[in-house]
């Protein structure tokens, strides 16, 4: 998916994300759709099958380098010109006990010859490095799927560790799958014999063997990976060489043995023309902040405290000091936002980045920013909660915290990106709101967007909007005196002036105590407090946000699928499936959650049914019901993983056919397993 597709649903050239067509070469099985098989001239024994899309999942122990392997395969797919989406999934522990289920780390990549919306529901191909990876990931593989298994790790001991009585490779339980048994550890060791590397070190390169094998199977370009390895291990030429040898050994294994009857081709995608790169959500957010500082002509000060899954924003921004970016790794979450607010008071673009537990700690300072009406960007990369919850898993359950998680009437604008690439645009949008209206803005990303990646059409910087602001320079007292009154407001935006220290004649005091309207001295006057509460609310309610657009290709849909945040992909993919099966459904996606787009109420009313999937217990549904007094069919799941397109397609189909029992999925708070 490209640009903020959720901003403007692109019409035309829409191809349904086909129901999983596993590239199985089981004799006697009907070939799934959209495939042609030819015989490869290079290898007379290998057929080349053309596919429109493939989902591959690499799974192994956290020490097996699966994230790197997946990442490299993704880069190869990107370099080849496929559209793609990824889903890394790893344990919160840095190294959970080796060979155990909690220690399994996986990386799923979906690549296609058309524009796709999700990392894929289920892997067509599962690469497993040990029994634990097989056990924990096999339930996701549809029957007929391909398993590529590193048999060397299937020792009695490792099998027992995860509760296998007999080896699944021998007991017939893998019959429904197409299994390729490859002794990856020993083959890698064999390939590295004579390099002088110890057995253990040699064995560690087996992930590159797997990458080489898969790269061969899918006709991937290899120059990028070869260059990457040389650069990554530039300081350790022996290790670089070993990884390269393992990578080539994997490729050659596929090429020379006759174990694999088929290779597969996924042609480049026909995407809008332009220059592309691969980008993760956290990186796109960091770039958006750098760009916002440049467009606003303000220095950026990020105050932050390390927290999963937001730390990469701090890491990335700390690399870009040449753009006038200062990063302060503070002593705690509170100090992080404190430093950002202090910098904002001094006239910088103040930013803080965190996850839900950090927002809880920052709440009081967000309240101070509301009261002092200073611009501030607060990024919450949501993860599973409550409390420490599921640090590495995704969730959308901080919406109400962002909206209301402060004492008093403390309104804050809330925006949410719909994809990794959209993080760039949403950061600029959040900063626009913060600077124009002098308010803290909550930006709700989530774990799936933060670590997920996709091809990104690199923006032309000359197209970015100008965000420059003017500081106050003259006294503004309404009584004609030569004083600065801090709470005199712009009549359009209701924003107060930004008078930064160092400006002669504008000395004034602000703070957390209630202030008198206009004049800004401390005021305990009841009527004044009532007026100020309403003014602060009116300022946020009056923020100019774009209308939401509806995607309804035929224009006759009676059902609207509504969403926010990272569920845009699965909802969109599900809508495609529903439409492909001949039914109509409209889709709308919210990037602005506070205030809501002005046309939303009218849109909600114009459909018979509005269905709203959320990775929480129905938080947006609750807000919309109370705001618009319309019913919403809430479909909720809080499993730490994104929705599956198939699962949502079934929900939508049931609702369209009216076969979904009343009340089912109606904020039923039931963890619903995907049924495909």
């Amino acid at each position: 998916m490209h640009l903020a597709e959720c901003q403007q649903h692109r019409q035309g050239d829409r191809k349904a994300e086909t129901v999983t067509g596993a590239p199985v070469q089981k004799r006697g099985t009907a070939a799934p759709m959209s495939r042609e098989t030819t015989t490869s001239p290079a290898n007379a024994t290998t057929d080349v099958t053309k596919l429109d899309r493939v989902v591959i999942r690499f799974a192994g122990d956290s020490g097996d380098g699966m994230q790197l392997t997946g990442d490299r395969f993704t880069s190869e797919a990107a370099a080849f010109g496929n559209d793609l989406a990824t889903l890394p999934n790893f344990p919160a522990e840095i190294r959970a006990p080796q060979g155990t289920i909690p220690g399994v780390s996986s990386f799923q990549v979906h690549f296609a010859d058309y524009d796709i919306l999700t990392p894929g529901d289920r892997p067509d191909v599962l690469v497993v490095m040990n029994p634990a990876a097989l056990k924990s990931n096999l339930p996701d593989v549809p029957h007929g799927g391909i398993l590529i298994v590193n048999t060397d790790e299937f020792s009695k001991r490792n099998l027992t560790k995860v509760g296998y009585d007999a080896s699944p490779l021998q007991d017939g339980s893998l019959e429904p799958y197409q299994v390729y048994e490859v002794g990856m550890s020993s083959l890698t060791q064999g390939a590295l014999e004579g390099t002088g590397l110890g057995k253990k070190d040699a064995e560690r390169c087996k992930n590159m063997f797997a990458l080489g094998l898969l790269s061969w199977m899918y006709h991937r370009p290899t120059e990028g990976t070869e260059r990457f390895l040389a650069e990554k291990f530039a300081a350790k030429p022996a290790i670089a060489e070993a990884n390269l040898l393992a990578f080539r050994a994997g490729w050659n294994y596929g090429e020379t043995t006759e174990a694999f009857a088929n290779t597969y081709e996924v042609a480049p995608a026909k995407l809008p023309s332009g220059t592309y790169r691969q980008i993760t959500g956290n990186n796109a957010l960091a770039y958006g902040i750098v760009a916002a500082g440049q467009q606003a002509k303000l220095p950026v000060v990020l105050g932050s405290y390390p927290i999963t899954p937001a730390s990469d924003i701090l890491h990335e921004l700390s690399k870009h000091k040449n753009f006038g970016v200062t990063t302060i790794q503070a002593e705690d979450e509170i100090a992080g936002i404190g430093a950002a607010l202090g910098a904002a008071y001094g006239g910088a673009l103040g930013v803080t980045s965190t996850s839900g537990p950090g927002v809880a700690l920052k709440s009081e300072t967000i309240g101070l920013a509301v009261m002092t009406e200073l611009p501030l960007l607060v990024i919450d990369v949501q993860r599973g909660g409550p409390s420490t919850g599921l640090p590495t898993k995704t969730e959308q359950a901080d919406l109400l915290q962002a909206m209301f998680g402060r004492n008093g009437e403390s309104p804050v604008p809330v925006v949410a990106p719909c994809s990794p690439g959209d993080c760039f645009d949403i950061a600029l949008e959040a900063v626009r709101i913060a600077l124009t209206y002098r308010t803290p803005v909550m930006l709700l990303s989530d774990g799936a967007i933060a670590n997920g990646s996709e091809p990104w059409l690199v923006p032309d910087v000359t197209d970015l909007s100008n965000l420059s602001v003017e500081f106050a320079t003259e006294p503004n007292a309404m009584d004609g005196s030569d004083e600065h009154w801090p709470y005199v407001r712009n009549t359009d935006t209701l924003a107060r002036e930004w008078a930064v220290p160092g400006t002669p004649g504008l000395q004034h005091r602000i703070g957390g105590l209630e202030k008198a309207d206009n004049q800004g001295q401390i005021s305990y006057d009841p009527d004044n407090h009532d007026r100020m509460v309403r003014l602060r609310q009116a300022k946020i309610d009056g923020i100019d946000v774009p209308d939401v657009t509806v995607d309804d290709p035929e224009g006759n849909a009676r059902i609207l699928a509504l969403g926010w945040g990272s569920s845009f992909g699965p909802i969109g993919a599900a809508c495609r499936r529903v439409r492909k099966s001949g039914m109509e459904i409209a889709q709308a996606h919210l990037r602005h959650l506070n205030p809501l787009p002005a046309n939303l109420g009218r849109i909600l009313e114009s459909y018979d049914t509005v269905v709203l999937p959320e990775m929480n217990m129905g938080q947006l549904a609750m807000l919309l019901r109370s705001r618009y007094l319309v019913d919403i069919r809430s479909y909720t799941k809080v499993a730490g993983l994104p929705f599956r397109a198939a699962e949502l397609a079934e929900v939508f189909t049931d609702i369209i056919n009216d076969t979904r029992p009343e009340g089912s999925g109606e904020a039923d708070h039931v963890l619903t397993e995907a049924t495909e």
Partner: protein, 352 residues
Amino acid sequence: MSIDLGLPDLGGLAEVPTTDEPQKAKDYKSDQEVRWCPGCGDYIVLNTMQSFLPTLGLKPENIVFVSGIGCSSRFPYYMDTYGMHSIHGRAPAIATGLATSRPDLSVWVITGDGDALSIGGNHLIHALRRNVNFKILLFNNRIYGLTKGQYSPTSEEGKRTKSTPMGSLDHPFNPLSLALGAEASFVARALDSDKKGLTEVLTAAAQHRGSAFVEIYQNCPIFNDGAFDVLKDKDEAARRIIPLRPGEPITFGPESEYGVVRSGFAGLETAKVFEIGLDNVVVHDSTVADPAYAFALSRIGGQDLEHTPTGIFRQVARTTYDDAARAQVAQASEAKPADLQALLRGNDTWTV
């Protein structure tokens, strides 16, 4: 190991613009009515500050007071400078962001024993360790005033208050020992009533580049009246207060008959000068690199005020966080122009 950033050896106000226009104390008085209780020590500190600031000759618009919550934290409202009355304990965090991004400001944090040592303890120690260029004035009245009289982290053990009718159980902090343990580069103590001593300390603090920590003993006549009376009674004060004067032997007493001498392992204690001889009295030097000396000074006397050194305990030059942070930004900017388009493109693109 410290990295030589090639930073110039500057004073605390080196980049703050000055003015030749004569200033008076009243130029620093805001139009807000001062609302501390009658007789509160805060008034004297405010007056001292207002008469001291003109001596710096800074542009008043380049002075900022940031405070937390508590009686003393109302201070910024009464100063005709820029000011932020923030939230409980967080003033050092806010000042860190402000001072780091604005070297042209003279930033003062006003805090109290509850604000700085209880709810804001973490921010205080980290600000001191980083050595950010702002001044921290801790008004220590050994009580919670604004919430009407609960014991504070500097209250004596066993103190009976509204929340501790049977006596408090907490062992108090020695704020100076804490600051020194947190690697503070400037540590001083003054009494609210001692205008001259306080002015001297404030002047040195303002000129110090880095975090300057000043403990001010402040009387709260409402909830902890007379906590420091023994230091205000002329005879008692002469016996108890140990004035620290740079380059001079540390003597005290009505006839300077007592002195501070070395004791045990890196310790200090008081002794009669005639018994040990003036040559054995320690000559005060706040610039000693080893903080053990200032720490030993901070341990003389203490909660019971039997002996109370006042003045500057420690004043050493150390790279400040904000200077170093700005140097990194400058260095990066010099090494690589800010080319946004190049950043967005990255190294790995393909064209469709």
